[in-house]
């Protein structure tokens, strides 16, 4: 075949590659307080604009403005700030520990802490969470001990996953947090099924699930929206649009033509786009969606517009594919800084308290780490019994696995 003509294929524009100056002009913003707040039982079709505008509560001065202001009391905001700071402190420490060879792999949520923390705080303990691998804030808010998280990261003798899962693939039955999968997007329709079961059982718990904007390209995203729409399942479907999927810009997931929230109304589901770095806006939107779900008004698709400030994972180097100081130019700032600014604005926080808190959290993380490593690390200390490899494949171990377990023991001498 000879190619004589020019290609006419359209390719999504990527704003800034290495060496180029960051350019976020493509991000559609709405002024803080500008977007109206519909009734809880409003029909998806009657609030389509919510899916393309951007719900914001915190203005540039750090004031909480507009109809979406959740009017949370300062104490709750301080708890939220603490959770976000703990998440970041934890992330940064674990990143260093991976570099030090203590754990095999790590994924940070830097710059996206408000997503998991504010959303989880707006839900009830009985609500079931189906996270992606970048939602550690959910574990923090639900009170999973740092020790437990760290032991999982270390695949050590106290690992909740018995050494079977990659680091960060946590789960917690008591915490109502489902097992995280290494396969993208699979949790999305599972959450809808969980919610369908809640409805069938006549319970008013809801399910919430998170997916990256890149992963929304997977079939599971469509199945989730479709089943949620058909059965009006009590579920909150969250797309975390942090602009990047490893090296792939969000335009390649469809973000160039339309917002991700806009997929919702196409399926007859409420779609709402929110400032993913605005703790108050996220909390308000999530509470609104939760009330819709609980009152039988149907599912909601929330797009959280944020930015992946760090590398995709410890295996990744973003300098290869995006402008180096991108994150500093992100128009929606940093979630921790913005909530801190607001708390200080309303006289409920100070630099001194902030300093004290971060020192406290550093110490907390450090002591937990010390405790965790006592149970073994990748390179040193006690190791899990390899026999565990053969358990939980089935409820009872079948003949062939018993036999293989014995062979494995023999091999190891």
């Amino acid at each position: 075949m000879r190619m004589t003509k020019q290609s006419r294929l359209h390719l999504p524009r990527v704003p800034a590659r290495p060496g180029e100056t960051p350019d976020f002009s493509y991000v559609q913003l709405s002024p803080a307080g500008a977007v109206p707040r519909p009734e809880i039982n409003a029909r998806a079709r009657d609030m389509m604009s919510l899916s393309v505008e951007l719900v914001r509560v915190l203005d540039d001065a750090g004031e909480a403005v507009g109809p979406w202001n959740p009017h949370l009391d300062p104490g709750e905001l301080q708890v939220g700030l603490r959770h976000m700071m703990l998440t970041r402190t934890f992330d940064d420490r674990m990143q260093r520990m991976q570099r030090a060879g203590k754990i095999s792999f790590y994924i940070r949520s830097s710059g996206e802490e408000a997503v998991s923390v504010a959303q989880c705080m707006a839900l009830r303990p009985g609500d079931m969470l189906f996270p992606s691998y970048r939602n550690q804030g959910l574990q923090i808010v639900r009170g999973i001990a740092l020790l437990d998280l760290m032991c999982q990261l270390l695949s050590n003798t106290r690992d909740m996953c018995k050494g079977r899962q990659l680091p960060v693939m946590y789960h917690s039955k008591p915490g109502n947090i489902f097992s995280i999968s290494g396969n993208l997007a699979t949790q999305f329709p599972q959450a809808v099924g969980w919610a369908m079961a809640a409805a069938i059982k006549g319970e008013d718990h809801l399910a919430a699930t998170w997916i990256g904007e890149g992963s929304s390209a997977e079939a599971d995203f469509h199945h989730a929206l479709l089943f949620a729409s058909v059965y009006q399942a009590p579920v909150i479907l969250n797309v975390v649009n942090n602009q990047w999927a490893i090296s792939t810009f969000q335009g390649y997931a469809g973000g160039e033509q339309r917002s991700f929230a806009a997929r919702g109304p196409g399926y007859g589901i409420a779609g709402i786009r929110v400032d993913g770095n605005d703790f108050l806006a996220i909390h308000a939107v999530t509470q609104w969606a939760a009330e819709r779900a609980r009152t039988g008004a149907g599912p909601t698709l929330i797009e959280l517009v944020t930015y992946r400030a760090a590398a995709h994972s410890t295996s990744d180097d973003p300098a290869r594919y995006r402008a180096k100081d991108d994150a500093e130019h992100w128009p929606l700032g940093d979630p921790i800084q913005r909530l801190k600014q607001h708390l200080m604005k309303i006289g409920e926080w100070s630099e001194a308290r902030h300093q004290a808190l971060s020192t406290e959290l550093e110490a907390l993380v450090a002591s937990s780490w010390k405790e965790a490593t006592a149970f073994g690390t990748l390179s040193e200390g006690p190791r899990l019994n390899a026999d565990l490899m053969f358990e939980d494949v089935f409820k009872e171990m079948p003949q062939n696995l018993k036999r293989q377990q014995a062979l494995m023991r023999a091999e190891r001498g």
Binding site: M128, F130, M160, C161, K162, R164, Q165, M169, H171, S172, K173, F178, S179, S181, N183, T186, F188, P189, Q190, A191, V192, G193, W194, A195, M196, A197, A198, I200, K201, A207, A219, D220, H223, A224, L226, F227, V230, E391, D392, V393, F394, K395, P398, Q399, N400
Partner: protein
């Protein structure tokens, strides 16, 4: 009962005994399923226990997983086994893995029922036997009954099992046993002992093969549609064959297999699925590993050909009595 009635009875009983059991699938609710397996069950148990679903096998499996994690016991029908592939990722990356990766904290007791096999002029997209593929995925049990009695007992066991089960139904056997000759008049299950099915609750264990005929000259290891074809071929040759109906492929009843082949010293394996890398290869491997010193002739596989299942050549594709006979001859008088 015929096999459809037996399956219907199993689901009826489980819906009645356990409020956590729900049925879901394409056309299974109001309509009762394209093969009528769920006929009448929505009327009896209501639209919230017997759910019609969108046409999305991936969505069906995924939502069934979520439901099961929330305490239900979904029994999902995939209309034809040929259409299970859109759900493949949710089955082998998720359904099979949830207990393992959560160290047993979460588990997904989902049963997936699906009609398989040819013989109904369904062409390449209504005749497949993909069971072998699923036996390679650690963490799921794989079952295929060959008669109404087993179908009911195995399905009840599968639904009560806390591990995921894929339940293959040889659709050619829904209405009666079939010896492989499409020109013979159809025989109804009512005339067959395995068609005598108790109305009530009973179980047939997973992982137990059945010796449908004991014999001394050769062991025929088979399951599903081929059970009757093999029996007919052996009878026609009148040889004293021991015929084993595996019933469940995972877990596999290695003891029954090995004991028999050690006794007979000869072995033929028969299934309808494509030969290359079909489940017959695993059976053959196990027999070779367990019984090598007892074998008096090469083990033979009788299978479908390594092609899709062609509409016009259904009976040339199907491993009928001629193919079984040839294999039996070669193990009895090896060249």
């Amino acid at each position: 009962m015929n096999m459809i009635q037996a399956l219907n009875s199993a689901m009826d009983i489980m819906l009645g005994r356990d409020p956590a059991v729900v049925l879901m699938g394409e056309d299974i609710g109001y309509f009762g399923g394209v093969f009528r397996a769920t006929d009448g069950l929505q009327r009896k148990y209501g639209e919230h226990r017997v759910l019609d679903t969108p046409i999305a096998e991936g969505g069906i499996v995924a939502s069934a997983i979520g439901m099961s994690v929330n305490g239900l016991r979904p029994v999902a029908e995939i209309q034809f086994a040929d259409y299970i592939y859109p759900g493949f990722d949710q089955i082998c990356s998720e359904l099979a893995r949830i207990r393992y990766r959560s160290a047993g904290e979460f588990f997904a007791p989902v049963t997936i029922r699906t009609p398989c096999g040819g013989g109904i002029r369904g062409g390449q997209t209504h005749s497949q036997s993909p069971e072998g593929i699923f036996t390679h995925v650690s963490g799921i049990k794989v079952v295929m009954p060959s008669n109404p009695y087993d179908a009911k007992g195995l399905l009840i066991t599968a639904i009560e099992d806390d591990d995921p089960v894929i339940f293959f139904e040889p659709k050619r056997l829904y209405n009666g046993p079939f010896d492989g000759d499409p020109n013979k008049p159809a025989v109804p299950w009512s005339t067959h002992p395995k068609g005598q099915v108790d109305e009530g609750y009973y179980k047939v264990a997973l992982g137990k093969a059945e010796i449908v005929r004991s014999g001394s000259q050769v062991t025929i290891i088979t399951y599903g549609t081929m059970v009757f074809v093999a029996a007919a071929a052996a009878a026609a040759m009148n040889i004293d064959a021991e015929i084993i109906d595996l019933r469940s492929l995972v877990p596999l009843d290695v003891d029954t297999i090995a004991t028999s082949v050690k006794k007979t010293g000869r072995c033929v394996i028969a299934h309808e699925a494509t030969r290359f890398s079909g489940f017959g290869a695993e059976i053959l491997s196990i027999v070779q590993e367990e019984c090598f010193w007892d074998l008096e002739a090469p083990i033979q596989r009788v299978t479908g050909w390594d092609t899709p299942y062609p509409h016009a050549f259904e009976w040339e594709y199907f491993p009928g009595q001629a193919r079984v006979t040839r294999a039996l001859k070669s193990v009895l008088e090896p060249a």
